[in-house]
Amino acid sequence: MSDSLILRVVTKWLVPVILLFALYVQFHGDYSPGGGFQAGVIFSSAFLLYALVYGVDATTRVLPEAILRIGASLGVLLFAGVGVVSLFKGGAFLNYSVLAGTPVAGQHLGIILIELGVGITVACVMLLLFYTFARTIPPQ
């Protein structure tokens, strides 16, 4: 598909919009429908579109597999880390109320961080799955 000028141009316009929308779903998730999982999927779909038009190789140059693997792990670590911090602050595992001065602020902070962890992992794993099935490059 990479030879179609229209597709190439439209993709270049669409990718940042999709990314922005993903971030909106991510950071608005605590007030409105949305959250880490949805945001992660939308975020990865921007790269999927890019890969469909410009090819998988071009996409792996932007986001190499190694980085995705680290990202997938870091997301889980962020999630678990929030839980551990709340453990150290004297609450139960994943009890966000103790994270900040007031319980409300703590819950707010906690859910944003947790969802961020989910978002990062989901986006990375989605792309890893796509790479695994679509790649013509040898595994790293």
Partner: protein, 499 residues
């Protein structure tokens, strides 16, 4: 103390992604080892705390049950956690060499990460008091074990893993649907809460459907006959370390969930009048006979042991199906004893595989003379598998036969004895080949270059003997599993019967 219980799940949750990031095999092994050490220590402390009947509750996120997820630890799941954590520890020490040999360098850190995730899933299944949370952990452990099995050396490992994936996914689907039906009927996912309010909705047909779906799902996961077909290939093709760990823990945890579901989620007064106990007995007895029969006919040691696992799972199912206190105690103790026995046997099989590059009995004739230590471990652990007095295997079979006689069920008692005789036959088949048959001209097979020969594996052999010693120790001193089982069964029967 409450803090410690959640750490059992949190530690591998943190260590697994770290292992996946650090792409160095030594560091990966070291992190896994430290994790397992910590988990074994923690689970020991927790078991020591709850063995006399105390129950630990831990509310995740500070949400009160039944709304929030709660971890409930009594002596039963503490015992399961101890099995998982200690077997994991010994497997990691045992497996450092075999993993190095069998797993590609570029994958080994991922291998260890997945291994920690299996531990995480199994521990979580054991500890949680929330049935949906249990499903999540079931999936964590299953998905990572598919990946681990697929890392086997031969291409057949992929097929074995795929079959396991299909069976496991079906099982998980049934289990999830069952949970869904139960939730529709009860409006709660907390196991204690379901049991507490069971009378309010027990007349609904939906509840029976839920029970059946959950049972079928668990039976697939636990490889209960006739839903065992994924097990032999998966255990045969998986890397040595994975076989040792999964064979001794994963099906046991599924049996634990079966016990928990049948006695605490659904009170046993609810299902004892149905066909279910009879069906469990039938499936257990047939499983024993079929597994033993197939084991006798195998020529590969690994596959022989895998079929023997199908048979041994039959004993546990029979223990549950007898539906009396003695039977349940026998099932729980057998869960413990079989875990250590099978770990010892698969470790010995792994040693043979690593040193001679084959587990095919026809090529192992007379190997007892060339490698007396490895085959000695086989013989000793084999005694425990048969159930010779003085070994762990004897204790649980003794209890099981007693439980069957207590119920007046002589058919079951007879089947257990017949299956034990068949166990002698398949263990003897190994012993005879290793010791009493003359060696072929070549005892070392498929050796390409000098570096492929593994002359001695002192650490792995030592670990194997530790497990063998454990089999004998728990054959003579049965306090720990028996006390835990007694305490657990008392609680299970009082909550089940005293609604």
């Amino acid at each position: 103390m409450e803090m410690l219980t959640v750490l059992l799940v949190v530690i591998p949750l943190i260590s697994a992604p770290i292992t996946a990031i650090i792409a160095n095999r030594y560091v990966a092994w070291l992190i896994t080892l430290v994790t397992c050490l910590a988990l074994a220590g923690l689970s020991g402390v927790v078991l020591h705390h709850v063995i006399s009947g105390e129950v630990i509750h831990y509310e995740l996120g500070g949400w009160k049950p039944p709304w929030g997820i709660e971890y409930v630890i009594d002596s039963l799941n503490a015992l399961v956690a101890v099995i998982v954590a200690f077997i994991a520890l010994i497997t990691v020490i045992y497996g450092s060499k075999s993993a190095e040999k069998e797993i590609h360098d570029s994958q080994i850190h991922l291998f260890y990460a997945a291994f920690q995730l299996v531990i995480l899933g199994l521990l979580g299944m054991a500890l949680t008091g929330d049935i949906f949370n249990l499903f999540v952990f079931l999936e964590i452990s299953s998905l990572s074990s598919y990946a681990l099995i697929a890392m086997g050396q031969k291409r057949q490992a992929l097929v074995a893993s795929f079959n396991y994936l299909m069976a496991g996914t079906l099982g998980a689907t049934f289990f999830l649907l069952g949970i869904g039906f139960l939730y529709a009927a009860s409006g709660t996912l907390n196991m204690a809460d379901i049991a507490l309010r069971f009378d309010q909705f027990s007349s609904m047909t939906l509840v029976i459907t839920a029970l059946l779906f959950i049972l079928i799902g668990l039976a697939l996961k636990a490889a209960v006959f006739p839903l065992h077909s994924w097990l032999p290939e998966a255990y045969t093709q998986a890397p040595t370390m994975v076989t040792v760990f999964l064979a001794s823990t994963s099906t046991k945890v599924a049996i634990y969930v079966l016990i928990r579901t049948l006695y605490q989620v659904f009170p046993n007064t609810y299902w004892e009048e149905m066909l279910l106990p009879g069906f469990l007995l039938l499936s257990g007895c047939l499983g024993m006979l079929y597994g033993s029969y197939k084991a006798i006919r195998q020529v590969s040691i690994k596959r022989l042991l895998a079929y023997s696992s199908v048979a041994q799972l039959g004993y546990m199912v029979v223990g549950v199906g007898l539906n009396n206190e003695a039977g349940l105690i026998a099932a729980i103790v057998h869960m413990f004893n079989h875990a250590i026995t099978k770990a010892a046997l698969f470790m010995a099989a792994g040693l043979v595989l690593m040193r001679l590059h084959t587990t095919n009995l026809e090529k192992l004739r007379g190997a007892g003379k060339t490698m007396p230590w490895t085959t000695g471990a086989f013989a000793l652990a084999g005694l425990s598998l048969i159930g010779v007095p003085g070994t762990a295997g004897f204790i649980s079979k003794w209890y099981l036969v007693q439980a069957a006689l207590e119920k007046g069920n002589y058919v079951v008692a007879g089947t257990i004895l017949i299956a034990s005789i068949m166990a002698i036959m398949y263990v003897w088949k190994i012993i005879e080949t290793l010791y009493f048959e003359g060696p072929d001209k070549l005892t070392v097979h498929k050796v390409g270059s000098g570096k492929e020969i593994v002359p001695d594996l002192p650490v792995a052999t030592f670990c194997c003997y530790v497990m063998v010693a454990t089999c004998f120790y728990f054959g003579l001193y049965t306090d720990i599993p028996l006390e835990a089982a007694n305490t657990a069964v008392e609680v299970l029967f009082s909550t089940g019967g005293g609604q």
